[in-house]
Symmetry: C2
Subunit: 914 residues, 2 copies
Amino acid sequence: MSTATGTKYVYFFGDGKADGNATMKPLLGGKGANLAEMNNIGLPVPAGFTVTTEVCTYFYDNDHTYPPELKEQVAEAMQGIERVMGAEFGSTTNPLLLSCRSGARESMPGMMDTILNIGLNDETVEALAKQAGNEAFAWDSYRRLIQMYGEVVMGMKPENKEDEDYFEDILHKKKEAVGAEFDSDLSADHLRELVADFKSTVKRVTGKDFPSDPLDQMWGAVGAVFGSWMNDRAMVYRRDYGIPHSWGTAINVQAMVFGNLGDDCATGVGLTRDCSMGGPGFNGDYLINAQGEDVVAGIRTPKLVEETLIEDAPDAFEQLTEIGQKLEQHYKDVQDIEFTVQRGTVWMLQTRNAKRTGFAAVRIAVDLVNEGLITPKEALEARRIPADDLNQLLQPIFDPAAKKQAQEDGSYLATGINAGPGAATGKICFHAADAEAAYEEDRDVQLILVRRETSPEDLRGMRIANGILTAFGGASSHAALVSRQMGKTCIVGCSELDIDYHEATVTVGEKVLKGGDWISIDGFTGEVFAGQVPTKPSEVVEVLIHKTIKPEDSEAFQRYEQLMKWVDEHRTLQVRANAETDHAAESVAFGAEGVGLCRTEHMFFNHLDEIREMIIADTKEARGLALAKLLPFQRDDFTELFRTMGERPVTIRLLDPPLHEFLSEHHLEEQPDLLHKLADMMGVASEVILRRVEEIKESNPMLGHRGCRLGIVFPEITAMQARAIFEAACAVKKDGIDVHPEVMVPLAGFSSEFDNQAKIIRDTAAEVMKEQGVEVEYLVGTMIELPRAALCADQIAKTAEFFSFGTNDLTQTTLGMSRDDYGGFIGYYQENDIIPADPFQTIDQDGVGRLMKIGVEGGRGSRDDLKIGICGEHGGDPASVMFCHNIGLNYVSCSPFRIPIARLSAAQVAVAEE
Amino acid sequence: MSTATGTKYVYFFGDGKADGNATMKPLLGGKGANLAEMNNIGLPVPAGFTVTTEVCTYFYDNDHTYPPELKEQVAEAMQGIERVMGAEFGSTTNPLLLSCRSGARESMPGMMDTILNIGLNDETVEALAKQAGNEAFAWDSYRRLIQMYGEVVMGMKPENKEDEDYFEDILHKKKEAVGAEFDSDLSADHLRELVADFKSTVKRVTGKDFPSDPLDQMWGAVGAVFGSWMNDRAMVYRRDYGIPHSWGTAINVQAMVFGNLGDDCATGVGLTRDCSMGGPGFNGDYLINAQGEDVVAGIRTPKLVEETLIEDAPDAFEQLTEIGQKLEQHYKDVQDIEFTVQRGTVWMLQTRNAKRTGFAAVRIAVDLVNEGLITPKEALEARRIPADDLNQLLQPIFDPAAKKQAQEDGSYLATGINAGPGAATGKICFHAADAEAAYEEDRDVQLILVRRETSPEDLRGMRIANGILTAFGGASSHAALVSRQMGKTCIVGCSELDIDYHEATVTVGEKVLKGGDWISIDGFTGEVFAGQVPTKPSEVVEVLIHKTIKPEDSEAFQRYEQLMKWVDEHRTLQVRANAETDHAAESVAFGAEGVGLCRTEHMFFNHLDEIREMIIADTKEARGLALAKLLPFQRDDFTELFRTMGERPVTIRLLDPPLHEFLSEHHLEEQPDLLHKLADMMGVASEVILRRVEEIKESNPMLGHRGCRLGIVFPEITAMQARAIFEAACAVKKDGIDVHPEVMVPLAGFSSEFDNQAKIIRDTAAEVMKEQGVEVEYLVGTMIELPRAALCADQIAKTAEFFSFGTNDLTQTTLGMSRDDYGGFIGYYQENDIIPADPFQTIDQDGVGRLMKIGVEGGRGSRDDLKIGICGEHGGDPASVMFCHNIGLNYVSCSPFRIPIARLSAAQVAVAEE
């Protein structure tokens, strides 16, 4: 905005009215907008003004200067404050004191600077002392101003441990010298001496005098607070929370009120209801006779508003209770407030929607509806229940007391990347085979699989273990992906662990744990503990999955059910499960409306002998024999899956991974007798097998002979899988279940590839249905997981009856980034703002998302009722689910434990667009 | 087209006019269109009619039936033939005989069937005998009809060696029985007996009589010829030559003329000028007293038109010469004709533009311009000189006589994939290190590097060798790509070679060659010979590069120069070279207008010690020390490159490959002392190096830590390279050369990646220019080689000053297909029509091409003068060059030896659109 047009840079508030309001957060920041709003609704707020975020932007664009209009607008607002507060800035009889606080659009607690008591100097301090009737109070306020101003404005803040802490050192020495235990033990004289010491130290260190002119102080404070927007802490915080640096901060200059004038004064923070578990009732912390910063600083232990304030200050308690109700009525949400009680009167310094745990979020949303404050639709707003937080209702947790104990007693070992939420404890086990052996011996064995990294060979071990802990890999490593899929607690990339398979030890610093020792992992936080920290399952899961609690006995479950009922009423996007037979029932309990991805190779890993025989076979006939052995296993698996899913559609993806995932040098090394076993089984020389292993080795397996490329070169694989699917479907249909199989061809890039496979599938289906004398409705479609498939979707949709975006692979190819290899740079990328988010967790909308849009447009252009879904990991990520809704997908598919989250996200985006 | 609208399915020609003309090839086929055209321009053509390709399509769409209108249209055309030829089909006094030939849009020589002498039966044969005054001729014609008809229409053709060859067996036995050496030794009675035998054999084998009704014969022939469109041979041919199966063939039914009525008759084929080297003058083959098929069958050795026809048949020779001139005047191109001389009169049976070698193509095009038949612009039409054929003027060749000798004397070993054109001979050498050692000893050593496959470690050995031969890999393997880049003769994937490095032998069947034995490879054909087959360099290259022939002494060179002058006058697309310092001069000689891709890592491979030191270094400082050692090498290289290229722009790509290409387990295995050498050099424990090697190992290197991801995580690498570039540029600028460096950031997918690197480059440039006191104009841009980069080109172009499409990697990621791994399926894909062409040779226009268009639109949307080029291998592929022109690129960049081809392609597409 041009400065020439007379832009309004300063928004005044005070005396029951304000220039701004709560909708103006981008311009006034959260704090400023809500200070204005509270004025507008008649709550007691000390008068003040907000300098807009546009000034911050101007400040950084113009070499730390201000728009020319600013000075006049500030002067005018100052007069307003003086008028409302009945005091004068710089007056030596009735001085007005000011605070100067940052206030960004999104809360950034503690990241930026604040200066209080602006306006004090050697003259005004005397006036304040007289007015307050409290000399020590006045000089202490002056002392605090010099300290804050020196640190924040004049650069005397100790940034590192080795830096000199000028003011605290002097204060400390003074207290020692006069035998004072607390600051409050210092007399007015002591404090006057301290002020002199502080001022001379400022001069000595900075070469400049502490400014005595109140206006100089105010402008110095404003500049410093704008400057703190770009301090290192604030930059890191914004990076972590995805706040753009370009937003800038607003500044609030406000009349001081004092909680430290005596025992009829107090200061505190509070919540209009409990934000940990969601229960009703005001609660908070306060200190009698204290200034706001003291509550946060933790020097004195605060008291609880809900317990003692009614006795300490019954009037204030009543005012607060009333204010809390008024705020909830007005904001229609739980508020997080700051207040000061000055001589019995409550002043509001801040209000904002309160942060809350997932547990609390669900309870508060449901309660607010029941209290009539909001509608069910409003309860679904994304800001009320960040969909990811639903996880807290589903995962097992550590018993809170036991965890606290573990944190304190030295059991804490290290922190890795929290890849699979939940809490788990078990005995350390290093190898999948050992896990299986232990499980054979004791079905209730408690294990944590501890690996440098995991591979598909570890799958069965991972299923048995309570949790998975790896030293390497990121949030999208094999261990992380599979754990999320299985709903297992998992920590990856815990690089402080030194794992020695040979010695069977995990070493962290000086601590050495052995195989069989207990270890506990918190997948919510990434913390690893030695020993056994007891866990408990989530109540919702006990009701839904384990059926160990009856629905009517669980309030938490009833609230979850209520919420999900509203969710399902509002969402239009369907939600399916990525699940094989063994997770199908669970996925239905979580609300899956079908299976979006059944990976047939998961079944193959249970029959490695046969699949290896198929790989080694060098003729179509020999391959056919091996495949014939696999057929009944596949058919039985599919039969069970179809029965569980009933009439819901079930998408079955044909064999996808490259053959070397089933047989490679790595397997031969790990199992020294495997080569001979295979040679004996196949009746061939070892050399034949070794040559085949060499043949199928690949430089870039992700871009190699996999997906439909296997089924094209070896059509008998596709034919066998199609036969298994349709034999199973016919059998279940005969039992009266109206099955809906959807056969999915993986990795097609050319329509000719799809057509080749579709013909085999359709021919086989016709053959089987004729044999069985049953008709089954089915679809044949493809995964869109290569850029070319999205670009040529119009061609592919001519014959494909559905699409499912495989966004894991689509991300890998579109970004040219392997999730197995991006560890070398992704950390650096995220820390240095090269990349906004992990593209394997949240869809890269500009790149991958654009391709998806091209794919949707192309596909629907050729077939306007084309059914389109997504079955990558992104299907369970809230932002990605919303994107999928926006580009018109029919469904998302995700791991069973992500289904409630996906449902909620789908409802939230639908509600947002209504 | 609906049959109800009375579509014209039959096109008559005869008596100097025709329903069709030469432009109607899609409908009438090539042969039919040109028969019509020859009629229209007054050449002697036996009357006939063409059944359109639409009938063929109808035939296949409607279960081998014809449109209802066809019968009547054919009957009408038959009457026309009878009228023009003054004979009657089926007449027992003046019978008309017909031929029935296929004729597709594109010539498919010998792939489909032909039936001659239609209309003969036991009655008409007597009339023919009487009319011709030659009983043996008539019965031989009848005998031929039954044989062709039996084989083609009635299914008696021997398809395999073991099948019975009914007719030839009977003929053979008859000749033995009567003591005849040639068919022509058989008397009319013998032939009459043969006819009877043939007819009874038809009945015996097929159960059906040979049809005596001439109309039945004609319709039978038409059906069989349409049927032959889908025979196996024809399908394979079309696949190989990229002819769509959907085109269908036309059929030409035409009055028979006879070259076998006596010694005033003849039959022949000819070219209006030499199509091997391009010299002027009619030349061809003919046989006196023979039918057309005899010339092709090779039973008698034909005579040469240009040598003896003037004596054998002076009138016919005069007619032919005149016809040849008339044809060239009319078609403005060399014609390939078939003719029959019947009793002294020449009849034309076919004309078409002649196929020619690359040598001939250039000479003919230039000569036709000089003769005033065509304009220079017409000379550039793509059909006259397929741009790829220019290669023949540039590559060394085997001495033709010596090669023929080698083919005949048993030196032939095997045939692989012709990956790098040219001919090369040398001593077998298995290891790059051995090649280097041999080269040290003898700078003129002649070597062929024979490897199972090649890797970057082999680069220096490949440079020394005359040619490269590998047992594995496809047309896009490392060996193939690098050879094309170096302009080296290369054969890859020669799977018959059994290479034993340990024994130092190459075995093919029973033949064993040792290291040091001579071997010769023909990169045009893929043939491998034992022994030394002498080669000679191309004349053009001798003039341009070796300067061993003066331009004025080489007519071939002068024609090349003339052509390229026209080329440069017409093209708008610029052509640059993919070249490092050592090929820069050569690229300029070939006409490069700049360097489009200088791969800095090629220089790194010459300084492996330093780059390995950089890799192992674990601090920024240690890396800096190693890089400081590399700086002078890079700077010297760039200085030389800039001097050679002068004022032409030079695009330098920063380090691209993953670090493990310089140091991996593979290197440590191949060089057992390397580990200790490195440990000593760096003063670190071997374990440190082994751990680092493990760290940088990748699962999918193509999608890993490479490209700008290296320069971002290790900014000191980028800084060093930028410094080397600008120090070199400043030095050269000081010498008065106005250098134009263009610094290219590889593998950027996010604009933030580009911005990060661009800042380092621009800061370094400013620093160096200040130090040196010189200003250098330069650009900073990026390779677009990831789908995301193309999709987000609008964002990247905000700061990038140029784009260069890296279509090798862009193809790999867009198609999800690694060129190192596609060997497992690409062969199957091409044989089975899954994929139309090798996407690494010709741009996949629907997929990769669409992304390129998105990239161009996005980039120019943000920066309308954005310079855009391509530097993948596709930059030298004619179809791809034309595509690049069409989507508006500024330049293509390719290997030096492909530059003339790219220039010609660029001119051809420009001419085509004018």
